[in-house]
């Protein structure tokens, strides 16, 4: 934990991108956390005068359903974040396991895994998601939706990880571990995983974005659980009330602005963190000797 905080502090101090990223992400997370102290239940409506533009009383305005967008969005952002993060984590677990195992084991295991993997790559995901949604949408919780979406969101990333592991397993330190009698599982986890971390990180962000995008897409088509406030259902309700053309632009602009802010911040964070975690720069940092000075 202390190590983690040090990393954060290092990044914050030294990298303006990360400084912005940390600030923005903290703001978004704080915002999401404010849902716990929200004076308004996201399920209630018409407690405020509808269609009020942003003002001091309603920083993000109110929507046509008489809801304060600020407080409503705290829930929406929280749920979307939770959903995105769960999806990203679940699909990362699949992608990492498949990528590591297929890459390391090679041979027939690799072939089988990659055929399955490629089959998932070529599937038309959205129509299938819509269908699956049909099958199990009823009262589908955020967790279940995350599981379904995660099941389709790992294949391409598993391939990336696998190709990295293919070269990692030929590295000498892998052999050192093998000859230290280390079990395959711990070689994968403690030796190779740190090296694929930068790529895992950047795919995580992409996956997060993809997942939240999927949720928005499903919601826009009227296919998600409209009872749960998310960025997607916010846009769904805004569409139902024709917010875009009836001048209630803040209804759409607020969630979009928050997600843009969040993702720009996440990208910047990944760039900074990737550089930080990249074994090459990590070495430079730790050693203080520049790599081009080694014969």
């Amino acid at each position: 934990m202390r190590g983690f905080l040090r990393v954060v502090a290092d990044l914050y101090r030294s990298d303006p991108r990360c400084r912005f990223a940390f600030t923005a992400i903290s703001i978004v997370i704080m915002f999401a956390l404010m849902s716990f102290v929200s004076p308004q239940d996201p399920g209630s409506s018409y407690y405020a005068p509808p269609n009020q533009p942003p003002s001091v009383a309603h920083p993000f305005g109110t929507n046509s359903r008489g809801q304060d967008m600020f407080w409503f969005l705290t829930f929406a952002v929280r749920n979307s974040l939770v959903f995105g993060v769960i999806t990203a984590i679940l699909s990362r677990i699949i992608a990492i396991s498949i990528g590591l195992i297929a890459g390391y084991k090679g041979g027939i295991i690799d072939r089988i895994m990659m055929v399955i993997n490629d089959s998932f790559v070529v599937l038309p995901v959205l129509p299938l998601l819509i269908l699956i949604n049909f099958i199990i949408r009823e009262q589908m919780s955020i967790l279940q939706l995350a599981m379904v979406i995660a099941a389709f969101g790992w294949a391409w990333d598993a391939r990336l990880i696998r190709s990295q592991v293919l070269s990692l397993k030929e590295r000498e330190f892998t052999y050192t571990s093998v000859f230290s009698g280390t079990k395959t599982s711990s070689i994968l986890i403690s030796e190779h995983l740190p090296f694929v971390m930068p790529i895992v990180l950047s795919t995580t962000i992409n996956n997060l974005l993809w997942a939240i995008g999927m949720e928005v897409t499903l919601a826009v088509l009227g296919l998600s659980n409209i009872g749960i406030p998310t960025i997607g259902t916010t846009i769904y309700w805004a569409n139902q009330h024709q917010a875009l053309i009836s001048g209630v632009w803040w209804w759409i602009a607020a969630p979009v602005a928050i997600s843009v802010l969040l993702f720009v911040a996440l990208y910047l964070l990944v760039v900074g963190l990737g550089a930080y975690l990249d074994p090459r720069t990590r070495l430079q940092r730790m050693k203080g000797v520049l790599s081009d000075e080694r014969a």
């Binding site: 959205l126 129509p127 299938l128 819509i130 049909f134 843009v260 720009v264």
Partner: protein, 336 residues
């Protein structure tokens, strides 16, 4: 010599076939668990007439429809029947537009989706990579940062919103583009300027929305790739030798960074439906995405399957071709 290449090609094709078979099987199975039932859908529609229909009449209708649609028999039998049909190039009749063959429905929509999405995918790919490469190569410049922020900001905007904002701006506030459709009403297809310009004009907004959202991903990826390649020895060496920056940028940096992006482009085709569906929905574009969407709502298994089969085969084929052609782009690649 050529023989080993042939073996490789055969292996690769076999793998591609396997992928297609698994993909199609998954797509075959999922709708079978769907609560939408094409027979029920027709019955529901008949009920919509408001008329009283005697329960026996409904039962009669249901039995007849089930047979007609080929939905009788076990899952296994249906699966066998499906493959038998597919192999003879017949995807069966659409259930929601019975008895229109699925093939002919797809034939009408495929060219539109194909043309729009291929063009935009390529434009987005080229522009995104181009700008990404520039931004990566001149990573210290101010404009590079500005460009990066813009590209990154475009990326998370939902397709729907992007499309709609463009629509409101350029078809309503400043009405320079049509609201939707693929070509003006009543124009007869032909190789003439009026028809072609009408297609271009109608495709512009959908294309722009797809390109704008698509650029971001390529931009970010390319930028990262270029940042890595710039520190490669051969780039440094060429810089030392005084090779002009432009040559270095294109021939030493971009060319090399594009290689992984080529595979990405092929894979990207798989994501076509996300963009296509929404785009077609917003712009009334007559493509496959919307066809699939309405098929799902109608419980039209055979149409869903048809679109999915085309998509799966299309993407697998694209990936296969890129794989086989990859050595043309990258002389280092050996097929193993």
């Amino acid at each position: 010599m050529g023989k080993s290449f042939l073996t490789y090609v055969i292996q690769r094709i076999a793998q591609c076939l396997l992928v297609v078979i698994i993909g199609i099987t998954i797509t075959f199975l999922i709708p079978r668990f769907s609560p939408t039932d094409p027979v029920e859908a027709v019955v529901n529609r008949a009920m919509m007439m408001g008329q009283f229909s005697h329960p026996d009449a409904v039962e009669m209708m249901k039995d007849a429809l089930t047979k007609l649609y080929g939905l009788d028999g076990t899952l296994g039998q249906q699966y066998v029947r499906f493959w038998r049909g597919l192999l003879s190039g017949d995807l069966g009749p659409s259930l929601s537009s019975f008895p229109k063959p699925v093939m002919s429905l797809i034939r009408g929509s495929l060219p539109w989706t194909g043309a729009l999405l291929l063009t935009t995918a390529i434009i987005a790919w080229v522009t995104g990579n181009m700008l990404g490469a520039l931004a990566g190569y001149y990573a210290d410049k101010r404009w590079s940062h500005v460009l990066s922020i813009i590209a990154m900001s475009l990326h998370p905007i939902p397709y729907y919103i992007m499309a709609f904002v463009l629509l409101v701006l350029l078809a309503y506030v400043i009405p320079v583009f049509p609201l939707g459709g693929a070509v003006a009403i009543g124009l007869k297809p032909g190789f003439n300027w009026i028809y072609i310009s009408s297609i271009l004009r109608h495709a512009f907004l959908p294309a722009l929305s797809l390109v704008l959202v698509g650029i971001g991903g390529w931009f970010v990826g390319m930028r990262a790739l270029v940042t890595n390649i710039v520190s490669e020895d051969y780039v440094t060496y060429a810089e030392y030798a005084g090779v002009p920056n432009r040559t270095i940028m294109y021939q030493y940096v971009m060319k090399n960074a594009l290689l992984p992006q080529i595979t990405g482009l092929a894979m990207q085709l798989g994501l076509i439906f996300n963009g296509a569906l929404i785009t077609e929905y917003v712009f009334n574009y007559p493509g496959l995405g919307y066809l699939a969407y309405s098929a799902i709502f109608a419980g039209d298994y055979s149409l869903i399957m048809g679109v999915a089969v085309f998509s799966i085969i299309g993407v697998s084929l694209a990936v296969l071709l890129v794989d086989l052609a990859y050595p043309l782009f990258d002389p280092r690649v050996k097929h193993q």
